[in-house]
Structure formats: C-alpha cells, structure tokens
C-alpha cells in the first residue's frame, strides 16, 4: 500500500501549486482553476486522513462531499461575475480590471 506520507506530500504540493497559480496568473478563469486545485488538494488530505489515520468513521468523507458541492456553487457564482465583468470591461485579464486603487 502507498504510505500516507506520499499522499500528504502530494496534497501539500498541489495546495502550493494552486497558491502559486493564484498569485501569478493574470487570467480570471485561470485564477478560478487555481482555487479549484487548492480545494481538491484539501479533499485529498481529508480522504487520506480518513482512510489511513481514522478508519472506521466517515467524518472526512462527508467533509469532502460538502467541499466538492460548495466548490461547484462558488465556481458558478464566480463565473457569473466574470461574464458580467467581461460585458463591461471586454476583457478577463486582471490587469484590465484595476479601477479601484488606494
């Protein structure tokens, strides 16, 4: 069986790859994808802990199901906002939406 440390390493790496993407990308859809990456790394974490460390209960799995659902709701609202923003700015680049400063 794969040891738990490998899985935790994977999830931590994914989390920080997502964070890196969030800080460096300039396309709004890419930002949303980075956030999905971070949330999915958390799902891996929960499932791994549930399977390896605390077998015999389902708290982690339940949490994962709820995170997946809420991530979908979040993406729906975020994409609606991006579409509305595109209508007024004609761009989905973060640098073009920079009216609010200081």
């Amino acid at each position: 069986m794969v040891p738990v440390s490998h899985i935790l390493l994977l999830s931590t790496a994914l989390f920080f790859i997502g964070m890196y993407g969030l800080f460096t990308r300039r396309n709004m859809i890419a930002l949303l994808m980075s956030i999905e990456l971070m949330l999915n790394s958390i799902n891996i974490n929960f499932v791994a802990f549930n399977k390896y460390v605390w077998p015999g209960q389902l708290d982690g799995i339940f949490f994962t199901i709820f995170i997946i659902t809420i991530a979908a709701a979040e993406a729906a609202i975020a994409i609606a906002i991006v579409i509305n923003l595109y209508r007024s700015h004609l761009s989905i680049d973060v640098n073009d939406a920079a009216e609010l400063k200081h």
Binding site: F15, G18, M19, L22, M28, L31, L32, I35, M38, L39, S41, I42, N45, F46, F49, V53, W54, Q57, D59, G60, F62, F63, F66, I67, I70, A73, E74, I77, A78, A80, I81, V82, N84, L85, S88, H89, A97, A98, E99, L100, K101
Partner: protein
C-alpha cells in the same frame, strides 16, 4: 423531537419562510411593486426579531451539530436588528432597481448562513454556514450590474474569500488528521499545543483573519467596500463582520482554549498591526466609503485587543461593542447612502458646508462619527473602554498604550469629516435632501441606540449575565 426542532430553529425557519416565499413569488411571475416586497420582508424580519426574544431555550439537535443557547439567540437578534436597519436604509437604492426581489433572496440567504454559523457545534456546520454567508455576498457586491467598479469588487471578493476558505479548510483538514473528529468538543478535549496543531491553528487563524480583515489579510477590504453598492458595503462591514467575530470568539475560547498562551501573542501582533495600518491609511482617504472601510479595519484592531484578554469580560465587551458598532456604523452609512443616492457624491470635500443645508443629517453623521471615535457621551466610548479594559486583564501595558495612542490618531480623521460639515464654508453646499420614511426610521433607531446604550448600562449587564 419535532417540538425541539421547531423551537430551537425558529429564527432559521422564519428566514427560510422568507426565502421560499420570495422564490415562489419570483417563479410565479408575480408583479409586485418593489415597495411591497420590501415592506413584506421588513414585517417578517420584525416578527423574527420578536420571536427571538420571546422564549428562552437551550439545546442541541442534528446529532449535536446545531446548538442554541440564550447567548447565541441574543447574537442572532443583534444581527437581525442590523439587517432590518439595512433593509430600511436600502429603500432609496432598491426602489427603482430591477432585481429587488433577488436582492432580498441573497440578503436573507446570507443571514441564514450566519445563523447556522453561530449555532454550529461542529466545523462542518461552521464551514457550510460560512460559505452560505459569503457566496451570495459576492453576488450582492455585483448588484450595480452596469458599473465597472461593482463587478471588479465582486471578483476581488469572491477570489479572496475562496482563498481564505481554502486556507481555513487546510487547517481544518490537519486538525481532523490530528484529532479524528471535527466537533468542537472533541477537538477541545484532544489538543495539547503540539507543533502540528499550532500549524493547523495558524491556517485557521489566517482564514478568520481574511474574513474579519485583520491587517496582513486586509488588502481586499477597501476595494470591495468602495466598489459595492452602499447598502451592501454597510452589510459587509457590520453584519457579516460581526457574525464572524462572534464565531471567532467561540472558536478561540471554547475550541482552542488550551492553546491560549500561544495565540495570545498572535493576536497581540495582529491587533497592533491592524490598529496602526487601519488608522494610517484611513487618514489619507478622500472617498467616504473607503474612509469608513479603513476605519472599520482599525476598529477590528481594538476588537482583537479585547479578545486577547481571554476572560468573561472579553466576550461580553466584544458582543457589546458589535451591538454599538452596528448602530454607529449604520448611522454613518445611512447618511452617506442618502447623499450618494441623491447626488452621487461620495468625497469628503463634498460634505463641506453640509450643516448649512441639512442640519439634522449633519448632526446624525456627527454623532455616529463621535461614537466611532469613542467620545464619552456616545456609546462608542463605553464600547472601546470595555474592550481595552478586557485587554488590560493580561497586564500588557505596552499594548494598552498603543491602543490609547491609536484612539487619538483616529480622532483626526473622524473629526476631519465633522469639521468639513460644520466649520468649512462652501459657496455651493449640497442642497437639502428629502429623506423618505423608511431611511428616516432606520436613522432614528440608530441614533436612539447610540444614545441609550451609552447612557444606560443595562445592555452590558444583560450580556454579561448571559456570558457567565
């Protein structure tokens, strides 16, 4: 038990009633005037408020995931009262809006999320409530659909709140790995302060820091507050922040109590940074909304100082301060909103000579700003006084001195607006504003609230008796 279910969840059920009522009206294509919708929702909110005060009860349902005590019921009532005031204030803005019904749907959904968050006894329930209260808020920020700033603010809001939820969830997942449960009582019993637990706690703290806009995590606040429609800004700065602060104190005091010495220093640093940076940036703002945004950041610094005291007085002073803060900040935002919807002006300079034409509104704004600054006859003074007193329990005089100095700095920018209104001369001040009935009622509630909580000590004693 069916009876328990209806009794304990009565505030939530009332809100669900509003949500489904509006949803069916919308689906049925009912042609209601915006005023009718507003009045209906306001009446049901008043009923919710009355029911909240009516019966006292304590209990747990849903397999110990949802619990209610008298204190939580009081916190919910405070939030309902604030939402009612905002609903009354948004009259002028929503009167001609095409989507007033959807606005109320989203508004009440966020309030429902906050109720679930307050009643949570489990991190899963807490997370669900948190997301129910933040995702619709992002949609509400975008409610001026044709303004560029509004959609930019909404995107900033949803990305930063999703990022902060991700940090929070990472912390929760590590906590689950350590303890094997996500219920508050199990975590409180199991943690001892090991390095891994501190790592998980720091992530959870960072998530909370984003939501209450404490300083290293505050960068989204001013932009979102400026871009959002004013009623939504006031909702964000008062109700949403207040709800998170109530939960924050529950999480710190009951779940992470045994790590108190560790998080005292974290709160110390956060508090000093928040007060200083909030105050310094508030000084250079010209836009009223942005200025109130930074002032609300600075207020969070004082609240964190109070929380760091770790005593019954700390929880009491926090709840008392949030109550006062609702009255004072909503009075300020109410006037700003009236001016903005009448003339579209939001700059501090536009308020020059405001007293000559609108004496009553000028006095309202002045009392609200005095209360925010903490000048004695108003309630804000007692709020800050109790917070600092609670923070002083640890005997850290350096922190208290910094807080006192910050209160003096904050006087500068609050009184700058008062000076512009009363003392500066302006050849062409803003003309007289006709205040419609419902914003007038909202402003009267706020001013009466500021004066009564300032002059009469009953509120503080009542909260103190509930906390202890």
């Amino acid at each position: 038990m069916v009876q328990d279910f209806f009794l304990l969840m009565r505030s939530e059920l009332m809100l669900i009633l509003i949500i489904f009522g509006l949803l069916f009206l919308k689906l049925g294509n009912a042609r209601l005037k915006n005023e009718t919708v507003m009045n209906m929702v306001n009446v049901v909110l008043i009923a919710t408020l009355a029911m909240g005060f009516l019966v006292k009860d304590t209990g747990m349902i849903f397999g110990n995931m949802f619990h209610t005590t008298d204190l939580i019921r009081l916190e919910k009532n405070i939030l309902t009262l604030g939402t009612l005031i905002i609903s009354l204030q948004s009259y002028q803005w929503l009167k001609a809006h095409k989507h007033a019904m959807e606005f109320y749907l989203l508004l009440i959904s966020t309030l429902l999320g906050m109720f679930f968050m307050l009643s949570s006894a489990n991190l899963l329930m807490f997370y669900l409530g948190l997301e129910l209260s933040t995702i619709p808020l992002a949609a509400m920020v975008n409610f001026d659909l044709h303004k560029k700033q509004s959609s930019e603010a909404a995107f900033k809001m949803i990305v930063s709140s999703a990022f902060s939820s991700a940090l929070l969830l990472m912390g929760i997942s590590w906590m689950y790995g350590i303890v094997g449960s996500v219920s508050y009582s199990a975590i409180a019993a199991a943690i001892s302060g090991s390095p891994l637990e501190i790592l998980a706690f720091v992530m959870i703290l960072a998530g909370f820091g984003f939501k209450i806009s404490a300083v290293p995590f505050h960068l989204w606040t001013a932009d979102v507050y400026e871009g959002a429609p004013i009623p939504v800004t006031s909702y964000l700065s008062v109700i949403s922040k207040g709800a998170i602060l109530f939960v924050f104190i529950t999480v710190l005091y009951s779940v992470f109590r045994s790590m108190g010495d560790t998080w005292y220093y974290m709160l110390y640093i956060l508090s000093v940074a928040t007060m200083l940076i909030g105050n310094l940036f508030a000084m250079r703002q010209q836009n009223m909304k942005r200025f109130l945004a930074f002032s609300s950041i600075a207020q969070v610094g004082f609240i964190l100082l109070g929380i760091s005291g770790q005593s019954v007085a700390s929880s009491t002073s926090l709840i008392f301060f949030v109550l006062i803060y609702i009255f004072s900040n909503l009075a300020a935002f109410g006037v700003v909103s009236l001016v903005s919807s009448a003339y579209g002006k939001e700059k501090v300079d536009d308020y020059k000579g405001f007293y000559q034409t609108n004496p009553l509104l000028a006095w309202t704004l002045a009392i609200a700003l005095f209360s925010l600054a903490g000048i004695p006859p108003t309630a804000g003074f007692f709020g800050k006084f109790f917070l600092i007193l609670a923070g002083a329990a640890k005997g850290n005089w350096l922190l208290i001195t910094i807080a006192a100095l910050n209160m003096i700095i904050s006087l500068y920018y609050y009184l700058r607006v008062v000076k512009a209104m009363f003392m500066d001369h302006n050849a062409a001040p803003l003309e007289k504003i006709n205040t419609p009935l419902s914003p007038k009622i909202a402003l009267i509630i706020c001013i009466v609230g500021i004066l009564i909580t300032g002059l009469y000590s009953g509120a503080y004693e009542y909260i103190y008796s509930l906390v202890s």
